[in-house]
């Protein structure tokens, strides 16, 4: 299984909907995980962002994202076997990474993890895509 960094934007697009192109990308990533071709790795910040979007969506009280759906979605994500790498970082590291890669502090754990492990990243975030191009980090693409 090829390890890669899974940016939370991919799963959030899958759960909450996105453009046709982005949904195709997100579903391709998930299929590759299931087929055993890709092993997702995330920094701990992934969990903060995913939780943030789930909580926000629940607070809007959308009928399509009720308690049962939330529970089943969380269970499904857990069952994907995502590996969390608890990187040792503090705010000074986040600032340094943001400056180095010209990205936002919230993007930096994903980019730094891919850079540190020298593995590709799956993302739908334009800022991260640009940072990958500039700094020689591969982005998972499908043809």
């Amino acid at each position: 299984m090829k390890p890669f960094v899974l940016d939370s934007s991919v799963l959030i697009a899958c759960i909450f909907g996105d453009t046709e192109e982005n949904e195709l990308y997100a579903s391709s990533v998930i299929r590759q995980i299931v087929e055993g071709n890709l092993q997702p790795i995330v920094p701990q910040h992934f969990h903060v962002e995913l939780a943030e979007f789930m909580v926000r969506r629940r607070r809007t009280k959308e009928a399509k994202f009720g308690a049962a759906r939330l529970k089943k979605t969380m269970q499904s994500i857990e069952d994907l076997g995502i590996e969390t790498q608890l990187i040792n970082y503090v705010f000074t590291n986040l600032v340094e990474w943001s400056e180095t890669f010209h990205i936002q502090a919230k993007d930096s754990p994903f980019v730094a993890l891919a850079y540190k492990l020298d593995i590709p990243i799956a993302t739908l975030d334009g800022g991260i895509i640009q940072a990958c191009k500039t700094h020689g980090i591969s982005r998972i693409v499908f043809h």
Partner: protein, 73 residues
């Protein structure tokens, strides 16, 4: 006094057993993964893909754009 001391010792032990990223030497990582099986992975993916909302309409904000805005806020 003795009970208090025991409580403190217990809390200290508990504290030591907790993974703390700030105590890891720089460059070291702690890896966490919830055990799963191929069957569970397959079922999980099926659920996520079957329940993927229809694509957003032209002009509407997709999730990726909302994530980008959240990160830049």
């Amino acid at each position: 006094m003795r009970a208090t001391a025991q409580k403190q010792e217990s809390a200290s032990k508990k504290g030591k057993s907790l993974p703390s990223f700030v105590e890891l030497p720089a460059g070291y990582t702690l890896i966490m993964v919830k055990p799963t099986t191929p069957a569970k992975r397959k079922a999980a993916a099926k659920y996520l893909l079957d329940n993927m909302p229809p694509p957003v309409k032209k002009g509407e904000k997709g999730a990726a754009q909302l994530v980008a805005e959240y990160r830049r806020s």
